[in-house]
């Protein structure tokens, strides 16, 4: 059974249909990249997959033992309260919420520290989240998503706002997590080059589903050429 099965999915905001009739299945271990123009409904789709938004028609089915609290999620930048009084550590640790009871255990704290180490933000641990630069905040939120899961990461534009060194590092980190730890990746991205390099599968959206399949097959399509691929 597939990890996530999307069946005849139609999503709308107050009567205005944003996505119509999507059908695809995501298997464990895939690296699925979701692409499409601004406003094509990528964020909406991810929020529907997370259960934050109810579909108008159709449904999302979790399989393979996947549960809601197995997912690590990075929201798109504009959805975060940028002026919130919280330390970096407090933010990252909140990613462990789905794993803990009422209070965080040693193990949770350890996991938070480890994922901070992976994103190289240990030295920012006691800094205030709101005083960080945009790229630093992005890394903090990635660390939070990372320590929330060992199954699947859903990232909404994780590379946006990062410098080229950090974004290259992050790309290799994501690849590593996927190949070594079998973490499934669903990533929304506007960076065409890294999408082509990292993905195993592509979902191209434009109000409806333009393409879903392997990256290899995508490269044969006309969309690929239109997007600037060679």
């Amino acid at each position: 059974m597939s990890l996530i099965n999307c069946k005849n999915l139609t999503v709308a905001y107050e009567g205005k249909t944003v996505l119509s009739n999507l059908n695809f299945e995501i298997e464990k271990g895939w690296r699925v990249f979701v692409i499409g123009e601004n406003g094509s409904g990528k964020t909406t789709l991810m929020q529907t997959m997370l259960g934050l938004k109810k579909p108008l028609e159709g449904k999302i089915i979790y399989g393979d033992g996947l549960k809601h609290n197995d997912i690590g999620y990075l929201p798109q930048q504009r959805e975060i309260k940028k002026d919130f009084p919280a330390s970096v550590y407090e933010v990252v640790l909140s990613g462990r919420l789905n794993k803990c009871g009422l209070f965080y255990t040693k193990k949770d704290k350890q996991a938070a520290l480890e994922s901070m180490a992976k994103l190289d933000i240990l030295d920012l641990k006691n800094n205030s989240f709101k005083d960080l630069s945009g790229g630093q905040q992005q890394r903090v939120l990635l660390a939070r998503a990372l320590c929330a899961t060992n199954k699947i990461l859903m990232l909404d534009e994780p590379l946006t706002g990062l410098d080229s060194k950090t974004s290259a590092y992050l790309s290799s980190l994501l690849l590593d997590l996927n190949t070594k730890h079998e973490i499934t990746l669903i990533i929304i991205s506007h960076n065409f080059e890294s999408t082509m390099n990292l993905s195993t599968h592509i979902l191209h959206l434009n109000d409806n589903q333009v393409f879903f399949g392997t990256t290899k097959d995508y490269k044969k399509t006309t969309y690929y050429k239109l997007m600037g691929g060679k």
């Binding site: 919130f84 009084p85 919280a86 330390s87 789905n98």
Partner: protein
């Protein structure tokens, strides 16, 4: 000054006011941080006005005011929360509608039954004399519940306040926790209403958190410091109210909070200037070294 303190503690109503004041200050400041960050300040304000209405009606019917208000307020908290969640812009005016209506109904009911007397004044602006023995016991029980629930769910309240969507995506039942925040706020308003006054109690919810957010940058420090600020302000406010012949207690407490807010704002402002200067000096030094 010391004499006044001693005499304040020698009256049983003085002690009751202090006990209730400290407990309400603690509850209000803990919740205030989330209320502000979630932009629910209006909900708190609306609730307090509804509280006045229900106090007035309870007094008119000659039934125990706080005990009657409590269930009403919890229901209203539920309604106000739903309104504010549904459609953002209309929610604001709907809450204003409800809160002014409740206030008007309260005033009318009181005028018709007992007339605009000192009780009304006390319900609006607070009094240290108003708290009975049974009020204090109710307050102790309820505030222990509020504080315990806040501590138990602290981590979830943090997550729901910081990033509701992500918390929801992780499987946290965010609407339960929003509801929890609203209900605890309602309870806090009920137990604080007699001391603070219905028109002024939202100041106790908002001010301490706002003040400590000027200075502190971590969620935990903001929560702890606003609790300390809140308790200190309530204590000083009650003292002033006592010293000046039972001057409206809620008004005294809010004024003290205002002063503290101004001081915190000033501290943050100076801190910022100092850091800016430091940075400028560093730049100059670095330029010289080159």
């Amino acid at each position: 000054m010391f004499d006044i303190l001693v005499s304040m503690f020698s009256y049983s109503y003085g002690i009751r006011a202090i006990v209730v004041g400290i407990l309400v200050a603690l509850c209000a400041s803990l919740l205030g941080v989330s209320l502000i960050l979630k932009k629910y300040a209006m909900v708190g304000d609306g609730l307090s006005h509804v509280g006045f209405g229900s106090l007035a009606i309870a007094t008119a019917l000659n039934v125990a005011p706080l005990e009657v208000s409590l269930p009403i307020m919890i229901v209203v908290a539920f309604i106000l929360l739903k309104i504010s969640e549904n459609s953002k812009i209309k929610g604001d005016s709907a809450i204003a509608l409800i809160s002014t209506s409740a206030l008007a109904i309260g005033v009318v009911v009181i005028s018709v039954t007992s007339g605009m007397n000192i009780d009304v004044y006390n319900y609006m602006f607070g009094s240290i004399l108003a708290i009975s023995q049974s009020d204090m016991i109710l307050c102790i029980i309820l505030s222990v519940i509020v504080i315990t629930l806040f501590i138990l769910f602290y981590n979830r309240i943090f997550a729901v306040t910081f990033d509701e969507n992500s918390a929801k995506a992780m499987g946290v039942r965010t609407n339960y926790y929003n509801m929890l925040i609203a209900i605890l706020t309602a309870v806090t308003i009920v137990i604080g209403m007699k001391l603070m006054g219905a028109l002024l109690i939202s100041g106790l919810l908002i001010f301490p958190a706002l003040s400590s957010m000027r200075v502190f940058k971590k969620f935990k420090s903001v929560v702890i410091s606003s609790a300390i600020i809140s308790i200190a302000c309530v204590f000083i406010g009650i003292y002033l109210s006592f010293a000046f012949n039972n001057l409206a207690t809620g008004a005294c407490i809010v004024c003290v909070n205002l002063v503290v807010f101004f001081v915190c704002w000033l501290v943050a402002f100076i801190k910022q200037k100092v850091e800016l200067n430091k940075r400028k000096k560093q730049v100059v030094l670095e330029n010289k070294q080159e």
